[in-house]
Point group: C2
Chain length 420, copies 2
């Protein structure tokens, strides 16, 4: 079988370690020269395939590809662009095959979350449907940690480590100031639908370092009275209180608190997310001085504080994806399998893509304490290994040294343009 | 001369390295046993002295004191509490002397910013005024970097490293997403009166890693039209734009933007600080998708990313304070003296307290580019050495391991209570 080219694309929100997955794909492909000629990356994800804007990763040095392991975000550009179904819009799929054919793409690696898994599944079916030989492998990536089958998702462990560390540090700060100043600190974290990241904030508080901490999950409808009573009790007992709130916090009607608050009764826009909203509530109702932070992109881009476990897994799924592809496994995703909790051990397994595509893994209710404001021992057992280990990037002049690739375009072969 | 006790207190907002200064004070005092019997720390700063709530640091092990070097925030508690002048309220000063006399305090170390320097100066004058022998030494600490005489302030370098790193990381994220999603990222940083921290954000963008970055300083009145034009130009040229905004940004009337925006024309409260405000403006006027982050306490508590230079200086001023005190130098502050820029070398000098108390060091105008949105080469030369070097704390189970002291109270000797 002659060697063919591979296509790799990053999809959706980026992470601190998705480039490590890219390194896993590219370095492994380079060891399979007899099967994979070059890895072409999509510039800005799948858009690069549709517009025939391919990046020749063969133009990057081994050192540059290695440096991807210590560089956050998406080195080739990502995108938020969902392909419609084949039935609805066959044009897009025909275009993909047109581009793949022109560049002899035999392997398709799609690095994303569950929406991307669905796209990858559709692409995996093109081979039969359009008579074009292609092996499609999805590579897991999402800070939301909501992919099915896999025990956890590359990208999540590093966010988890960042938010837990940040909350612990802020808690030490608030504790110092509480006598005369700030008594409540609110940290807003990501997670529109699932509270995995909010749960990770809970790791800040452990046996060695107890912290008066309350968590607000998207899974638990916001009960203002119960929450304020809980804050009040913590402040009375400990002198201060920390709150980790998920951006996806909803009220009893299932409406996002942040959105419910975006306009007032007169239609005036309200700035800020749910973090400042909750902080303001505490000031209004309890009269406590507060500070709030919204970590936003800082949390998912924080390569300087990546989890070594997460990094290793991110690389491993990239490597496994190539191994699966050259073995001819179509429509699959390498998954992380937890072998044991203590000591934590994991291996790479294989998930059929139709079990992953568009399935959202929710946080089990028994990961959240009965009162809805904390995490259980079961949650700790699950979460704790994922943040373990440090993998600092190289620093120069006090700042992390991140790589920027050359991202040289593969010469176009098609005369046709494609309109997105 | 018989050994006497020392009093040490942390004052005002805490930092990632103020505990390293405490370690410098305590470890050095322990080497001067013939002069300093014990170091008593004020619980919650000067309030601990007024209420006779003293902490016996002699009850802490050498390992615990050493661990202060890697622990953020104020291990003994800090406070925001400013003593009035002696003329206005002699009662407070008389009380201080009453407590000091009861506990044979012969050395007073006050660890804070320029307000605290003023308090320390007043205390230094008590010796003569009230006939009580006392040596008072101020120990510099402020993330605001606005103390006079000293080249820089312990605490600042670590915040600077944190905000520059965070902006660089977020910039990589935005660059990845800009094709279809976020094009503008806004990071709000601390700095009510001086733009030192905003200037440090500028270090994210350098020759090795250029970033389309605009800065908004408290020193430069916000010019909405010029700013929006600058954002628009960056997005057009680079596809995205990053903005670092100081919480102290003011409009042409000298009013804080964040406060100007706290209520709308109908008197409805607006949540959020200047970061979301600027981000919203960009969306409204330019129609660009945005993300914003407010780092708040995360930036000044981020011991996990402390600057080694800052840490070394924080320890050195603590050590020097004790050396000055046992040499009988009253009403002084150890200052950091820059010996050379390249290679960066510094030493400890001595500042007379009356040159420091209540003086605010502003950022020179020639540190800001003529357009008001960036930093000059001169600013870089000053700032760059301050963030150099890493000094990671110990980690356990994936999280930084920070010490909590026993903070055992010194038995009270006075029957009198003091009302704050």
């Amino acid at each position: 079988m002659a060697a063919r080219n591979a296509f790799y694309a990053q999809s959706g929100g980026v992470t601190a370690v998705v480039n490590a997955t890219a390194a896993g794909v590219i370095e492994t492909a380079r060891r399979h020269k007899s099967r994979i000629r070059q890895v072409y990356a999509g510039r800005n994800g799948i858009i690069g395939a549709l517009t025939e804007d391919l990046i020749d990763t063969g133009r990057e040095s081994a050192a540059a590809i290695r440096a991807l392991k210590t560089t956050p975000a998406g080195a080739f550009g990502s995108c938020r662009y969902k392909l419609a179904s084949f039935e609805k819009d066959p044009r897009q799929y025909e275009r993909l095959i047109e581009v793949f054919r022109a560049h002899d793409i035999g392997y398709f690696f799609y690095n994303g979350g569950n929406g991307s898994a669905d796209t990858c599944l559709k692409v995996s079916q093109l081979s039969q449907r359009l008579g074009y030989p292609l092996v499609a492998v999805h590579v897991p990536k999402t800070v939301d940690n909501d992919l099915a089958v896999t025990d956890c998702c590359p990208g999540f462990g590093s966010v988890a480590k960042y938010v837990a560390t940040s909350m612990r540090e802020a808690a030490f700060d608030v504790a110092s100031m509480a006598k005369t100043s700030t008594r409540v600190f609110v940290l807003e974290v990501m997670g529109r639908h699932a509270g995995w990241i909010a749960a990770a904030v809970g790791l800040a508080d452990d046996e060695s370092t107890p912290i008066p901490l309350l968590l607000l999950f998207p899974e638990i409808a916001f009960d203002q009275t119960a929450f304020l009573a809980a804050v009040d009790a913590k402040v009375k007992q400990h002198g201060y209180c920390c709150v980790g709130v998920s951006e996806g916090l909803k009220n009893a009607d299932g409406k996002l608190l942040a959105e419910a608050g975006t306009t007032d009764a007169f239609g005036h826009a309200q700035l800020g997310g749910v973090g400042p909203l909750v902080a303001n509530l505490i000031k209004d109702k309890l009269g406590q001085k507060y500070h709030w932070a919204v970590a936003d992109y800082l949390q998912r881009a924080a390569r300087h504080l990546a989890s070594k476990t997460d990094l290793d897994q991110a690389y491993a799924v990239g490597k496994a994806a190539v191994d699966l592809a050259v073995a001819g496994k179509n429509a699959v995703m390498p998954a992380i399998v937890r072998v044991s909790d203590a000591p934590y051990r994991w291996k790479i397994g294989v998930a059929p893509l139709d079990q992953v595509a568009n399935v959202e893994k929710h946080m089990p209710r028994d990961y959240i304490t009965p009162d809805g404001f904390g995490i259980t021992a079961k949650a700790r057992k699950y979460l704790s290994p994922l943040i373990r280990g440090e993998a600092f990037p190289p620093f120069r002049d006090g700042l992390p040294r991140y790589v920027r690739l050359k991202n040289v375009a593969v010469p176009r072969k098609l005369a046709t343009e494609f309109k997105l």
